[in-house]
Symmetry: C2
Subunit: 519 residues, 2 copies
Amino acid sequence: MARRSGPGRRGGGRAGNVERRAIAGIAQMPWRLPQNCDRPTEPLDGDGIEAIHDGAMRILEEIGIAILNAEALEIYREAGCLIDGNVVRMGRDFVMEMVGKAPDRFTLTPRNPDRAIEIGGRTILFGNVSSPPNYWDMEIGRKVSGTREQCRNLLKLTQYFNCIHFAGGYPVEPVDIHAGIRHLDVLHDKLTLCDKVVHAYSLGAERVEDVMEMVRIAGGLSHEDFEAMPRMYTNINSTSPLKHDEPMLDGWMRMARRGQACVVTPFTLAGAMAPVTMAGAVAQSLAEGLSAIALAQYIRPGCPCVIGTFTSNVDMKSGAPAFGTPEYMRATQMTGQMARFYGLPLRASGVCAANVPDGQAMWETSNSLWSAVQSGTHMVYHAAGWLEGGLIASPEKFVMDCEVLQQIQRYLEPEVFATRPENIALDAIAEVGQSGHFFGIQHTQDRYETAFYQPFLSDWKNYEAWELAGGVWTAERAHRTFKEILAEFEAPPMDAAIAEELAAFVARRKREGGAPTDF
Amino acid sequence: MARRSGPGRRGGGRAGNVERRAIAGIAQMPWRLPQNCDRPTEPLDGDGIEAIHDGAMRILEEIGIAILNAEALEIYREAGCLIDGNVVRMGRDFVMEMVGKAPDRFTLTPRNPDRAIEIGGRTILFGNVSSPPNYWDMEIGRKVSGTREQCRNLLKLTQYFNCIHFAGGYPVEPVDIHAGIRHLDVLHDKLTLCDKVVHAYSLGAERVEDVMEMVRIAGGLSHEDFEAMPRMYTNINSTSPLKHDEPMLDGWMRMARRGQACVVTPFTLAGAMAPVTMAGAVAQSLAEGLSAIALAQYIRPGCPCVIGTFTSNVDMKSGAPAFGTPEYMRATQMTGQMARFYGLPLRASGVCAANVPDGQAMWETSNSLWSAVQSGTHMVYHAAGWLEGGLIASPEKFVMDCEVLQQIQRYLEPEVFATRPENIALDAIAEVGQSGHFFGIQHTQDRYETAFYQPFLSDWKNYEAWELAGGVWTAERAHRTFKEILAEFEAPPMDAAIAEELAAFVARRKREGGAPTDF
């Protein structure tokens, strides 16, 4: 099960280099698309599902969503929705008809077709942390503004780990790059350092169009080929409560028109931007998400859409967001039931409120990741590297999270709980009898190399051996692993002509001034 | 939901003292018996259940269990089992008939009847770490042999936390007390510092009888009253593979005869003491457990029995035990299915291989605790305080685990996912509309104090506020909480005459030499 190699390396050949890698590298599980074989945990009964659905529909019918994008407003009007100022009210028949056009599964194909991922069905996929403005690592030891170098390093981790299936937004915001050209530099880094599915921020027409063009170039695709299937995705957040803003909807519609994947994730913090009661926060989140999906389906029926959940609660003492809480877990599970009710793929997240990669960080993240599994989530955002409620990206946390992600992926392998006669192993039990042990017998020898999950970060030594090895706590071990990965990282191959075209595009768009900024 | 008071305190009255407590104390959830409302996660289909059951039965029928206790051997013989030396083979009809006599739920009533706990049904209960020979805390900073003082401190935590429902074995082995009288001193500590259900080690006739007598005295019970219902429990481990040793069976039979609760937990490490394949390890574990339960039921039909699982895997590189692994989780879930098949309550554990209370400790422990929830476990042993595969007890880990346990217990409250009209909160959503927020509205004001889980250890401050408060990592915060709890701890009340009788019993048994030791 464990394999001593990163993905996407250039083929071997240089024996010395291969040897070096084998020493420096970590044993990680191979690239795969894990299948979630567990029956989801479903807190809602049929009446509960109906109550939340009816709530979401009544929000859309009676209260309405503010649409701050004139073009979108016209489309809703054309579709027969009621418009009052910028507030759109839409009937459940229209919403359900549109939502019914969205596929329940689709494939995203990045520049390396071997990295294509299916969104939907039983597949559960994980992406890196996205969008923190700040960075923390053990060496710096404090919170600092993000830089391009840190962003590049986190992209290398994104590419390196096989348990990470897609790249999210910027793994840290590189604020040392001017905002007008940031998308050009980061996407160039992302598309050259990674060959996995990438994301475009919906932050203005130029950014979205530039990123689509770069993805097209990196894939060596014609415009027609680019649009022939989903190659990338965007994620928009509504401005809760009940509002979609101008640039988000602009990007959303541009992506939909070109058949690219559209993920909508309301950020409904119960008690702040949503009701203090979790079922109400979920209903509001669904109303916000479904209104955007109805728009996309009206524009391009059948375009790939994903409904996201980011419903959590605030700390009622301080108003600060809390993550990985019991309420967060149940909201995720409830949204999973509703996503299946609507026949839509689901996005959830790996999250925590902790400020450093310590015990709290891992119980909060574990809570959120297990709730993603339990809810039948298809895309797990922020699954590695997130701290401080998404305000900090940390490479140590990234590495620690990947250890947990590998364990989840191993957990989902049916072989772990297979019950064929060779698994019941009556002959082996008879052979060992009432004394002796199983270490040496053939049944064990035939299987021991792949029988169990093999961690790359967990330290299973006893205390004395652990102490002798320096008594290193997990976060510090993760820091070392991070440095090892950087030292051995090799970017995935890219055709020289494509690399040149991509660089030329970036240079030209920079000369043209990039995207407008309002500061 | 959060309440500023520990349980079992003497009533208030001294205002100054109450005030001090309110400052020093932590906000914890009230004592309750959590009901597991989730449908279990069930990796096995019907054929899988049948395959494991058939495997367990064939182990008992064809391979047999070594019974190293002459009295037990005679009882199996009398019951019609086949005896060959000390190996007992028993037919599935006999085993299933006996197992069918065990109740699927029962109540354990300790000296404080308000602390009675139901084992079985939907109830999930948690106990403290048991039996580590060593101790670690942040102040000492290294692994040391256990002492009575450390043991007493961990018993205070056991009593203090409402999320801990029963006391396990010694929370750390106090090796500074001579083994012959250790049970007398620790049980005296346990019965005076705690009023929760307690446990007796099955380590020789004198120890079991002494502990039963002390529990009887502490409860102010006649011998008849003591035996009228289960007051306490023992836990025995088979000597895997396929062996029950002399003192364990002796204690088991003594407890069964007096109608006290009997928990049997084979320690089947796949690849070492059990097959390298998890289904085989589970089948062997069940065979070992069911053979003991059949014995108890033959001796006293209907006596309360619990089947335990401790099936994990070894690290195949070192042979060291691993805990909280994907394989561990699936084994626990599989055993849960089998426990329901046999109609027996289930015991599982909170476990980790980590040596210190860091990130690894918490992802491994989270994995094991969530698998306990998912498997429908009724008694979760070692749920707080365990490190190094059970070789170390740590008060910081104890406090951290209790934070996770509270979150699990909150997660299980149906109110979190209630869908009544007031939860859907359509009026509140209409009131706030497309702008503003939910902080100030009446719907929020009416609910905010109890709407969300309130942690006592998780730090939800933003980075700057956290840094300003000292930038304290979780384990260090847990250490401070541990010290605060010790400072404010008050033992539960005990009638003076009972306390005197208990002390006199201990003194007399010490004069008599306690229990024999072979060293």
